[in-house]
Point group: C2
Chain length 407, copies 2
């Protein structure tokens, strides 16, 4: 018996329908904001991901050699690929360029609740606009995606990495050391930080400080002013001060982020609660272009789960008609009715198995049809159908010409 | 400079938009016929594909070992995965079960026009209905997909593999020999067939025979009658005798097909002209279930190309509004207008770069917006906007309350 690979999933019709619904909602929202969809290959040369995320990612990546000896890898995320695409073929497009993507990504991790080896990302890149206004647009789209879906129990945290960078200048840490420090901050490993780095107590205070007191530590620096400007612009999207926290411990690693960053958690998801993360980054090093970008990625599976936990997924309703011809002679007329329904963009099906009427009605019920349409000799003679409502069980005769109106 | 892997593609916004349009058309059509979407993992245990398609497929497959020592492979097609899913978790569903899927599949082949290493399949499986009516439904959906899209220059060829199987009984060929023979028929290698197999001249006549004369060779066998019944049912879908050829040389290999099979070619595509293939199959051997299924797969990339060649893809039109605030003081009002447009599900964007009005209008033009909305001191004072049609170049003042109506 051949089974599904560990850490992957099959999506059955009901779940697929609600995932499609969610995908469409996100897609429409991004289009509404002027973003346009792109798609990159499922695998890339492995160097692309190593250069973006560092050699440690090899442990988590699905890599393989193709028959031509190329080292390839299934994408662990999309940003590196989209920026590779940008640098190969979209450099000449007018800026800012607003792109979004949706698809599967892959990581070899221990499977657990909310964490899979194949998972879906919905995300955006806003390329070539280095203003607080662009940061606000980026955050607002992510936040409005959640809010429009009715998700209540979420937390938005915003920071400007540059504030910490400025503050840390006096310690003269190397880039590698700062990256290590940020990873520890991200994991809330205060003990390790104290052990490894000789930082003043004040630094830990700064991480916990309400925004309004940050300036007393760092002064009205340009990175502080930039963040304030982002906050002002967020209010234009009706995202008020009470809707988010300014939290300098939101760092997302220095691997490529450099300015304003943010994360959104869905509190009901437990340990794997982060459903969105993003910010300002620059991948110029890899592609030999100096261009500032902002983006985010939504963990689609987790967002779907969060909506389910809050009971915000749509309710599946019965739909469509199931046509049951009684006897060989009435087949042709039955197909006429079938074509008429389908041509009017109504979901319609016909008994393909020549079953008894009882069994066929049982099938229509279990398969979730809204109506059964029974067609026997009487119906053909009178040019009508017997329309049975599968919910109420009521049955009525409807003239052939009136069918579309009756449904 | 890291490039895209050979044989793969990036999809830029314009192409992605027309691919999405096509995907949605196919999806709606399948739903209209009562099919429901499923999705399986991008990779599977390699045995699944070897058992389905034979060991020769190893040469064409992207396979790799994961960090747990499992032999995995990127799917070369979907049917094996969907049937694996069926046998794992959908066995108990009422039959017939109508499923469809859309996604990328992978083969390591020499890239050429219309042939890629990552390509997209849209396809269906109709599980558990063994009637001519079900064959007709299967073929009709594939054919109507093409016709509804306006594709004219296509050829539908239909056969019943069982007719050849019946005929060949007198030669007492093994299953392997028959498979080899069918592959040669598929490739029109008449010389090779004559060399390898000692068949009567009559056999080659049979391959070329019009349907109406087939019965004079094979008699009114049950496989002949089955095909006739399929043809009668096709006429209920307005697919008439002149719309297709009965062509016994349409064989698709015996690997798992067993009954009525069909192929659709788009004549304008040259060597890689087949855009759809399918038929009746039974994968019971692999999954230890005896269930008859029918399905087809559409080569999505080729279908897209065929529509392009016939100029049947939709014309991209300008859409959306680009808001240009003049001066810092008018920003807040500009965002009010932006929110109003977006809340009304209109695509809208705002200048994120603080450009001069000339540059901003130039951007709106190049980026394909239908309108620019210019907001200066005068507009804010009078609670209006300056609406500029990017096609005609005309500009008019519109009251703030009238914006949605004016667009």
């Amino acid at each position: 018996m051949i089974e599904r690979p560990r850490g992957t999933r099959d999506f059955e019709p009901d779940e697929m329908e609600s995932r499609k619904w969610l995908e469409d909602r996100l897609r429409k929202k991004a289009e509404n904001f002027g973003y346009r969809e792109v798609l990159t290959p499922t695998f890339e040369h492995i160097e692309l991901f190593l250069e973006r995320s560092g050699p440690s990612i090899v442990e988590e990546i699905y890599s393989f050699e193709d028959k031509g000896g190329r080292e390839l890898a299934l994408r662990p995320e999309f940003t590196a690929s989209v920026m590779r695409m940008y640098s190969e073929s979209l450099r000449g497009e007018p800026k800012p360029l607003k792109l979004f993507y949706f698809g599967p990504a892959f990581r070899y991790e221990r499977p657990q609740s909310g964490r899979y080896r194949e998972f879906w990302h919905f995300g955006t890149e806003l390329i070539g606009a280095d203003t607080p206004r662009a940061d606000a647009e980026n955050i607002a789209l992510a936040y409005q995606c959640m809010k429009d879906l009715g998700l209540d129990d979420i937390n938005l945290r915003i920071s400007n990495l540059q504030i910490l960078e400025d503050y840390l200048k006096k310690y003269d840490l190397s880039r590698d050391e700062r990256e290590e420090l940020y990873h520890m901050i991200d994991k809330e490993e205060t003990d390790k930080i104290e052990e490894k780095f000789d930082l003043d107590e004040e630094f830990f205070d700064l991480l916990d400080l309400p925004f309004e007191e940050v300036s007393s530590f760092v002064g009205e620096s340009s990175s502080y002013e930039h963040l304030k400007e982002v906050m002002k612009h967020l209010s234009y999207y009706d995202i008020e001060r009470s809707d988010y926290m300014i939290d300098l411990s939101t760092v997302r690693g220095l691997d490529y982020y450099s300015g304003v960053v943010f994360e959104i958690d869905a509190e009901r998801l437990g340990a794997q609660k982060q459903i969105c993360g993003g910010g300002d980054y620059n991948l110029g090093d890899i592609f030999d272009i100096d261009i500032s970008s902002k983006g985010f990625a939504i963990g689609f599976d987790r967002l779907h789960l969060a909506l389910e936990r809050e009971d915000k997924l749509f309710d599946k309703e019965r739909e469509g008609c199931y046509i049951i011809p009684i006897g060989e002679k009435n087949i042709s007329y039955s197909y006429e009715v079938l074509s008429k329904l389908r041509e009017n963009n109504l979901k319609a099906d016909i008994d393909l198995k020549d079953r008894s009427i009882g069994k066929a009605i049982g099938f229509a019920d279990k398969a979730g049809f809204k109506y059964s349409i029974i067609i026997g000799e009487e119906e053909v003679k009178n040019e009508e159908i017997a329309l049975k409502d599968m919910e109420s069980g009521e049955q009525e005769s409807v003239e052939k010409e009136e069918i579309i109106g009756a449904i």
